[in-house]
């Protein structure tokens, strides 16, 4: 495992991490690096292996091959050192249904290491603080069984926050929350991140990831097909979208720089919209709209990934059949 000077600041580093369930390869030689302090969004179609990856990082599932380090130590060997510093949500929240949310958090906290010693005194305070953070401070003694989906989700996030973790590993944390809840959680994660917590979350809500994360990873059919800063990903593509009433003249003027023409919209290879505009106007081409092209996360996703594993088409042998052909596909 490569632990050079730079890798120490990676909170997560995996090398060729692979997990097979029988004949299904859920995670396929993933080399993932997540630097400390980022907000990392893990994306990918259904069944692409996100949850399995999270489970492996937490020592719940044992890799078929490959190695991983979390917070600089190899997992699962150093689980007893690593796990107390992680707050996790795996797949969906879970709680003992016959107990109240508060009792659940207290018992869960007491079950952990040092539960009866040093940490005992401030348990109540920590539980109250966690409940407060997720907006459940005023929760009554109802058993969790009677909670709504959103309340359970909040309780699950509160459980992850109990011991002020260095790393939050959250699998679909906003699942089942209403728009206000999603907004609150985004504010909460940003606040925690500003205080130094690394936040790693998986989600299907691209807008959510776009609004929250600084870096994204994309999985497809078990492979990590992309891991990049969001800014770089959404940077101008070096193309300009040009709308003009004189497309034919424009094509002649731009001389081979036009990559695509559909109706009166041209896709022009050019870095500088202002210079392009000046050139067109100087040559008598009227311009109705001009915009540097940026890739949306959705576009990136559709280009990178095939159909999800939840969609099982007949005669499906070619992965991603039916999805738009990927230019960037590796």
């Amino acid at each position: 495992m490569s632990v050079d000077g730079a890798a120490i600041t990676d909170v997560i580093a995996t090398d060729g991490l692979t997990k097979r369930f029988g004949r299904v390869t859920a995670v396929d030689s993933v080399d993932l690096r997540i630097p400390e302090g980022v907000r990392f969004g893990l994306l990918g179609p259904n069944g692409s292996g996100k949850t399995t990856l999270v489970r492996m990082l937490l020592g719940l599932v044992h890799p078929t091959s490959g190695a991983m380090e979390v917070l600089g130590r190899s997992m699962p060997r150093h689980a007893a050192w690593v796990l107390p510093q992680i707050g996790a949500l795996v797949e969906s929240p879970a709680a003992w249904g016959h107990l109240s949310g508060r009792a659940n958090l207290r018992l869960l906290d007491a079950a952990g290491p040092g539960g009866l010693g040093r940490l005992r005194r401030d348990r109540r305070a920590r539980v109250e603080q966690a409940l407060e953070r997720v907006g459940l401070a005023g929760i009554d003694r109802r058993p969790v069984r009677a909670y709504s989906l959103g309340m359970r989700q909040r309780l699950g996030i509160a459980a992850a926050l109990l011991r002020a973790p260095r790393l939050l590993l959250l699998d679909e944390p906003t699942n089942g929350l209403d728009p206000r809840g999603i907004h609150e959680m985004r504010a909460l994660f940003t606040e925690l991140n500003d205080a130094g917590t690394t936040v790693v979350l998986s989600s299907h809500l691209l807008s959510e990831v776009e609004a929250l994360c600084t870096r994204v990873g994309v999985m497809d059919a078990g492979r990590l097909v992309l891991s990049q800063d969001l800014d770089a990903l959404r940077a101008p593509t070096g193309r300009v979208l040009l709308r003009t009433p004189d497309p034919a003249t424009a094509v002649a003027v731009l001389d081979g720089r036009v990559e695509r023409r559909s109706g009166d919209v041209l896709t022009v290879r050019h870095d500088d919209p202002a210079a392009l505009n000046a050139q067109l106007v100087a040559n008598g081409v009227r311009v109705s709209a001009l915009e540097a092209q940026r890739r949306s996360l959705e576009q990136v996703m559709l280009e990178l990934t095939g159909a999800g594993a939840d969609r099982v088409d007949r005669g499906r042998g070619t992965p991603g059949a039916g999805a738009p052909a990927g230019e960037v596909r590796r």
């Binding site: 992680i86 016959h98 290491p113």
Partner: protein, 276 residues
């Protein structure tokens, strides 16, 4: 984790229901016997039942004999089968393990809570049935003369109250061990599946299979090793002198079950993928 597990167990309504039912059956029998005075003739019906009408102090033994073949194994199977599979099906298992609770510690806590459950079950049955028995049948013929008097053992000799107490205590310990062996098997089954009913039914299947094989001459070679083989050995405690042979064999076999089943549970659980 161990303290948490015990607290969790005591807060489960199901556990209290099991205990209540276990105590209710002997109480019901006592009420019926007291009302009708129709004790089964010696040698028929539950062990000791014919004797209790004469002396209520023997009723705990009769009560244990009543719940032992079916009721007690069922409750143990329910509680032990639920131990790990229940957490898995509720999804709390993964959150406990990432808290983190070590896997060995989790299993040990579960086994301990099963042990506490069976011990309390046997104790509660003994205690409540003593109360019920004395209330329904009195202290026997000598009671009028010298308070709580002697009790005839199965062999005819008279036992002092202290002797009876001692023998009852050994009975409680022995039955708790037998049930713990069953519970350990249930714990092992519970690590094999994410479904508590499956583990429970597995344990019950084992009990039924054991009971079915036991009387077969063809199964004589394995008979001493069946889980149910020595369950009735404690009755020898009420003879005078006590016949220790069968009890000792029973303790060995049942303790062996606990060790082997817990080892198997650990071997399976230590490296298991938690995908629940």
């Amino acid at each position: 984790m161990i303290a948490v597990e015990l607290r969790m167990m005591l807060r489960r309504p199901r556990v209290w229901l099991c205990w209540a039912l276990l105590c209710a059956l002997p109480a019901l029998v006592a009420v019926l016997l007291a009302a009708t005075r129709l004790a089964p003739p010696p040698g028929r019906g539950g062990a000791f039942l014919s004797a209790v009408v004469a002396n209520g102090q023997l009723f705990p033994a009769a009560a244990l004999a009543l719940v032992l073949p079916v009721f007690l194994p069922i409750t143990v199977a329910i509680v032990a089968g639920d131990a790990v599979a229940g957490e898995a099906s509720a999804g709390t298992l993964r959150y406990l393990l990432v808290r983190p609770v070590g896997r060995l510690r989790l299993l040990a806590a579960k086994l301990l809570s099963v042990a506490v459950f069976v011990l309390l079950a046997v104790l509660l049955v003994t205690a409540t049935s003593y109360g019920v028995g004395v209330a329904a049948f009195g202290f026997g013929p000598d009671a009028a003369v010298g308070g709580a008097g002697g009790i005839a053992s199965l062999s005819g000799a008279v036992l002092t109250p202290f002797d009876l107490l001692l023998r009852t205590a050994i009975t409680v310990g022995y039955l708790a061990l037998c049930m713990l062996a069953l519970g350990a098997v249930g714990l092992f089954f519970s690590t094999l599946t994410d479904s508590p009913p499956a583990a429970t039914l597995g344990v019950l299947a084992l009990v039924v299979a054991g009971a079915a094989l036991q009387p077969l001459d063809a199964a004589a070679a394995i008979e001493p090793f069946l889980p149910t083989a020595h369950w009735l050995a404690w009755i020898d405690l009420y003879r005078d002198p006590i016949l220790w042979e069968d009890l000792r064999a029973g303790i060995e076999v049942q303790a062996g079950y606990v060790l082997v089943a817990f080892g198997a549970a650990w071997a399976n659980f230590a490296t298991k993928d938690i995908t629940s």
